[in-house]
């Protein structure tokens, strides 16, 4: 009667099934690619290169999504990620900063990201602002400040080290993809293997319970936004390197993409549940869709119409698999509306 498992395996079956669903969606997208452009897919070199391109294009937004996932699991939302990237990018590419070389630029981007995240966190945790409003205000302000700093000019990075990040490879894999991998692994460990991660789930899932358990909910909430800011700082460097420049309008609407990727990955918008792996899959789905459109050369308007449909289909498919599989085990009737 008594089950004694050697390891405390958390029964996240739902989540595993959901992720399987996302893998299915990815597979479906690839199959569509193969069917529509067989001549491209028949060239293994092209395929390898295409996969790397998809991953590379997913890298910056992927890093942002990891931070966003933490914030959302913790019960908040960060609308300012795009703006933080812009501010960090612009600040690290001013002539003054560039004079300090690559290290100075990276340092600046990270510090700006951290600092803005800290302001967000303080306003939300201690100023008791709703995170939606606080980060929306930050979105507007940070982009304004970025425009001010850049004089609304696109600032070119003349630093070869920075510029070469995007074009370098390590063991055949682009450096940007390595960075993404590192952030995803770090995020996974942080969420699943540290007290910080446990507390994030508690703070988002039941803040009152977390408080009663002696967790400093405010401090933790603040830290989540700092973490998100830091991820934006990293992404700013990645994007600056890719574009060899930065401007106030860069990373436009990254907030929507990151939130969407996190949610598609199975993170609950209301907090208390989410996975890093799912978020990564969410990002990859978007990146693969874009790639599919490009190789099929769809007109933008058609692209957009189809994209909406694919998003809906992806989530439905995911849910469908999830349900039909779990239904074998149990029947439930929750309306699950949000």
């Amino acid at each position: 009667m008594t089950a004694r498992t050697a390891l405390p395996r958390r029964t996240d079956n739902d989540q595993v099934l959901r992720n399987l669903g996302l893998v299915g969606v990815l597979a479906a997208l690839v199959v569509i690619g193969i069917v529509t452009r067989p001549e491209l897919y028949s060239d293994p070199a092209w395929v390898r290169n295409n996969i790397l391109t998809i991953l590379q294009q997913a890298s910056a937004i992927g890093v942002v999504t990891v931070g966003m996932t933490f914030v959302i699991i913790g019960g908040g939302i960060d609308l300012s990620v795009g703006a933080i990237i812009a501010l960090a990018g612009v600040w690290s590419t001013t002539l003054a900063t560039q004079a300090y070389g690559a290290a100075g630029m990276i340092f600046t981007a990270l510090v700006v990201g951290l600092a803005v995240g800290l302001v967000n966190g303080v306003l939300i945790a201690y100023g008791k602002l709703v995170s939606f409003i606080a980060t929306l205000a930050m979105l507007v302000s940070a982009r304004g400040l970025a425009a001010q700093i850049s004089g609304k000019q696109t600032q070119v990075s003349t630093n070869d080290t920075i510029n070469s990040i995007a074009s370098s490879r390590l063991i055949g894999i682009p450096v940007l993809v390595w960075i993404l991998a590192a952030v995803v692994v770090a995020g996974w460990v942080l969420l699943n293997r540290t007290t910080f991660g446990r507390r994030t789930v508690a703070v988002g899932g039941n803040p009152e319970a977390a408080r009663l358990a002696g967790i400093d909910v405010k401090r933790h909430t603040m830290l989540l936004f700092v973490l998100s800011g830091l991820c934006c700082g990293i992404a700013a460097i990645m994007l600056t390197s890719q574009a060899t420049s930065a401007q106030a309008a860069m990373a436009n609407l990254y907030e929507l993409d990151a939130i969407a990727a996190a949610i598609i990955g199975g993170t609950l918008l209301s907090g208390g549940r989410g996975t890093i792996v799912g978020a990564l899959f969410g990002v990859l789905v978007f990146s693969t869709i874009t790639n599919l459109f490009a190789i099929n050369n769809l007109a933008t308007e058609v692209q957009n119409m189809v994209k909406g449909g694919i998003i809906v289909a992806a989530v439905l498919l995911q849910q469908f698999r999830y349900r039909s599989l779990t239904n074998l085990l149990r029947r439930r009737n929750d309306p699950d509306i949000s």
Binding site: A147, T154, A243, Q247, A249, A294, T300
Partner: protein, 321 residues
Amino acid sequence: TSNDPADTAQVKTDTSGNANAATGPKVVIGFSAPAADHGWIAAITNNAKAQAAQYSDVELRTVEAGADAAAQRAALATLIAQKPNVIVMLPHDGKELNATGLEAMRAGIPVVNLDRAFPSAAAYRLQIKGDNYGMGLAAGQYIGEQLKAKGVSNPIIGEIPGIDSLELTQERTAGLNAALAVYGFKVANRRPAEFTADSGQAAATALLQALPKMDALWNHDDDQGIGVLAAVKQANRGEFFMVGGAGSKTAIEAITKDDSVLKATVTYSPSMASSAISLARLIGQGKGMSDLVELQVPKEITLASETITKDNASKYAKLGF
């Protein structure tokens, strides 16, 4: 701007007596422009397609470039992988796509940059630019002349730019300010819009409210100008004259009819896309421009911004988009 998108493209069809018109080796031209949410960009893509259709030896492969520089980079990466003979692109932002231009050039594909310059000269083979600064200059000159002629000494001048964070907007504004400075005038209030009619209406409404009396107004973009003109009407104002930008069909019609405050517009013609395709073909075939002595197409071409008024509007009616 027009309600029927059909066949408003500007193409050069008169090729008689031009040696370059003869069918040459086949040229595959890759083309990429930002997603059109605006008449001017839509016209760029339409013009490129229409011009390419004129040539039996040109195959145009357009890749749509999505909503931002990153999306366009991704699209161009797939385009470069397909190795076209020439790439014509209108980048979201020249600086942000500089690296991509370099990559293509390094891969041996000549790049024709439309409108938004790459900072690095190695990133393009040919650059065709509209003259944003010149546009502002032309608008400023027209406004200055008119006001001087009317004898207004301390004129109140309003400005409605497009998306303010774009560099091209900054250039236009710089041109306007430079021209006005010559007359000792300056802009009293500046309310940016977003290249859309509804944002133009909102910006103009705010501007009119801030300036209860105004002498002249430059609106950077004729598409958003539809909204600006609507706002002027809704506010029951008419004590000033307005200059447009880009040269859309509706704007030219309004100037011709002369029944609104819109008295002139300064061009920034999407016909540059047609020219770009023609020249890309020549580059692909290794030919030069027949009226030039040079054996190859030159490296840089800047279009002049012209001022359309009631007097010359008929000449430009065809070019409106």
